[in-house]
């Protein structure tokens, strides 16, 4: 009897812990799907050449339909003027979002993902035309 209570108690605690961890993982802003895997960028993200290459990749990867031309208004979040963490951007690009954004981790070289990060970071200072 006592041992079955113990088992029930331990199981319940484990379940609660699992749920709590799940909630934390799901709601932690730092989680950002893949942020921990980002590591250090292979180049200077403020380098204008890198940003330019990122802009080209951005245009070729569903601009207009998704984030809007040059990060302008669309149904997906507007990127122009958005203040986003580097790791968050990397995580979103690699893993996508539950709201329908595709993840590029398996189909795009890591270097290109960092170029996109550089471009999106540069949009923080961009103003609407």
């Amino acid at each position: 009897m006592r041992s079955s209570k113990l088992i029930v108690g331990v199981t319940a605690a484990a379940l609660l812990a699992a749920v709590a961890i799940g909630w934390l993982v799901d709601h932690s802003p730092g989680f950002a799907q893949g942020a921990n895997a980002a590591g250090a960028p292979p180049f200077d993200l403020s380098d204008s050449k890198v940003i330019g290459e990122g802009a080209q990749l951005f245009r070729q990867t569903c601009t207009g339909y998704c984030h809007g031309k040059d990060g302008g208004p669309s149904r997906a979040p507007k990127l122009r003027g958005a203040k986003l963490e580097r790791s968050y951007i990397y995580g979103r690009i690699t893993k996508g979002s539950p709201n329908g954004m595709p993840g590029f981790e398996t189909i795009m070289p890591r270097e290109n993902i960092w170029k996109l990060v550089a471009y999106v970071l540069s949009l923080a200072k961009a103003e609407d035309p």
Partner: protein, 562 residues
């Protein structure tokens, strides 16, 4: 005595076997192919309701006089609102079948909305890397199954009564091609026909037929013709095309009509794909039994604008002794073809805002004074926009009023062409060859409209203006009504003869799917998919910033008389 007993035994066995066979036939009939010819006015048995593509219900219980009394009978929520609800439901013998995002399939009691079964497709994670996802435009039914193409390149047959898998066939290597199925299949005799996405990908898009009985592949048709004159250099390897929406069928001619998508890259910087790029942006007439090409008509030779022919609307129409096919091209022009041979009978524009050509010759179909965006890095003003003069949503033709109720978009864009190298490893990457942003037409605001027109001449009887270009399909009924939902989430019933608004209801989310009508136990219903979402919707906020915040949704609203 012994002989007589034996005879009785034999007779009994024969009768039992015969009874069993008859029982099988009777059991099979309600969901058999023969019931899916739209003869039963109570049903909506296929994507466009009938092989002729009309989206017309012969039901008339709900009419101009009593439509004001429509009220909600029931609502069903799919539970996934990403990219809204793009599908057109089916109703067969009182049961509604529909498919929502993430390939969720439901069977519901058509009178009450009570769920009979659901099937949530277990999708390969590759789906989360794709451009064309997670929406689906519809199911097909027949031979006791419902069929759909999946986001990860399969075709699945579900038993109509139980929702259990009858068979699963993999047709596409989605991990490699980044392509999939999003349009409703078409059941023709013993085959299930469907086309793949490919127009924005460096691959070769195909149309497939599988056997309804077991899912084995019957034939495939490559929409990229193997012809160096049509595809210079290696461009055909990356030519795109495909046939992402649903075709029509003419049983008398035994021809399936299927529109094909645009070539890849969408924009040609000059020399990207030399030639006319057959069979992209074309209408194909295929033998449904073999997949053999009987004729084709390329509406946009060497498509420079992404004005593909794959919108999925082909009206099979006879007039003055002529067998016609009325086909909507994404450019906004309507091509009227002789459906026995593909010759042009007429061409007319649904929109008045276009500059991609000066005009299209109504006698020959020739594009007069083409205006392609070619100069790399220099924005070019083009009308209509990439979403088209009309999108893939369908109009509706009433054989009673002889009017085609169809939507149109008066919107332009600025295209900037950019050279691009096709990416095929580790998976196919998008291959647009440029980008674009929506613009207002010269001298006015962009807008949309719903028109009542003669489908052959284009003569307009009435029009209704919409601030936001509509992207929902249209339903017409024998009650002389036209139903259509807008981007803001209001579905309206119009007088089919005058365009006067007779009823409306706010469903709370915009409309992208196809409204239908059906009857159960003598009671007529109007079913309206509500749920805003679509790739093209991403183009709207450049002109209408508020659209960014229009709520998504995914529900079927069903209305009936009080």
């Amino acid at each position: 005595m012994r002989t007589r007993t034996s005879r009785y035994t034999t007779l009994t066995v024969v009768l039992l076997v015969a009874s069993a066979l008859l029982a099988c036939v009777a059991h099979a009939q309600p969901t058999g192919a023969s019931r899916l010819t739209s003869d039963d006015p109570n049903n909506w048995p296929m994507y466009h309701r009938s092989y002729d593509g009309y989206r017309y219900s012969p039901l008339a219980q709900i009419n101009k006089t009593n439509v004001k009394d429509l009220q909600v009978a029931w609502v069903h929520q799919s539970g996934v609102v990403i990219q809204g609800l793009e599908a057109t439901p089916l109703v067969i013998d009182g049961v509604m079948y529909y498919i929502a995002s993430n390939n969720r399939v439901f069977a519901l009691d058509g009178a009450t909305g009570k769920e009979i079964w659901h099937y949530y497709t277990k999708l390969d994670p590759v789906v989360t890397t794709l451009f064309f996802q997670p929406y689906n435009r519809g199911l097909a039914a027949g031979h006791g199954n419902v069929y759909f193409g999946t986001l990860d390149g399969r075709v699945i047959a579900l038993n109509m009564k139980t929702g259990k898998e009858a068979w699963v066939t993999t047709l596409l290597d989605t991990k490699k091609c980044s392509c999939n199925f999003t349009g409703a299949p078409l059941v023709v005799k013993d085959k299930v026909i469907l086309g793949q996405t490919a127009g924005e990908l460096p691959i070769q898009g195909k149309i497939f037929a599988v056997k309804a009985a077991d899912g084995s592949k019957a034939w495939e048709f490559n929409t990229i013709k193997n012809d160096p004159k049509s595809w210079g250099g290696e461009s055909g390897k990356f030519g795109g095309g495909g046939g992402w929406m649903t075709g029509a069928y003419d049983p008398a001619l035994n021809l399936v009509y299927w529109g094909t998508a645009n070539p890849a890259p969408d924009y040609d910087w000059g020399g990207a794909r030399p030639g006319d790029n057959l069979y992209t942006s074309s209408v194909l007439a295929l033998d449904p039994d073999t997949g053999a090409l009987k004729w084709y008509y390329q509406e946009i030779p060497h498509d420079d604008w992404d004005y593909d022919s794959g919108l999925g609307e082909s009206l099979v129409l006879d007039r003055d002794g002529k067998k016609l096919l009325v086909h909507q091209n994404k450019s906004g022009f309507v091509f009227v073809l002789d459906r026995t041979n593909g010759k042009v009978a007429n061409v007319w524009p649904m929109t008045h805002t276009y500059n991609f050509v000066k005009t299209i010759d109504p006698k020959t179909g020739e594009l007069i004074e083409r205006n392609p965006p070619r100069e790399v890095g220099k924005p070019k003003f083009i009308c209509p926009w990439i979403a088209g003069g009309r999108s893939w949503n369908s109009g509706s033709y009433s054989p009673k009023s002889k009017l085609w109720y169809n939507t149109a978009m008066e919107v332009c864009e600025e295209v900037t062409v950019e050279k691009q190298t096709p990416v095929t490893e580790p998976a196919a990457g998008l291959f647009f060859g440029g980008d674009q942003v929506a613009k207002h037409p010269p001298g006015g605001e962009a807008y949309g409209h719903l028109d009542a027109r003669d489908p052959v001449t284009g003569e307009r009887k009435w029009t209704v203006h919409y601030k936001y270009p509509p992207i929902g399909s249209v339903l017409s009924t024998a009650g002389d009504l036209v139903f259509h939902g807008d981007l803001e989430g209001v579905v309206r019933a119009y007088d089919g003869d005058s365009g006067a608004e007779l009823w409306n209801f706010r469903t709370g989310s915009g409309h992208r799917g196809g409204p239908i009508s059906y009857s159960v136990n003598g009671k007529q219903y109007i079913a309206v998919p509500s749920g805003l979402g679509s790739l093209v919707l991403g183009l709207y906020p450049a002109l209408w910033p508020e659209v960014e915040h229009f709520p998504a949704g995914s529900a079927i609203f069903v209305f009936t008389l009080k």
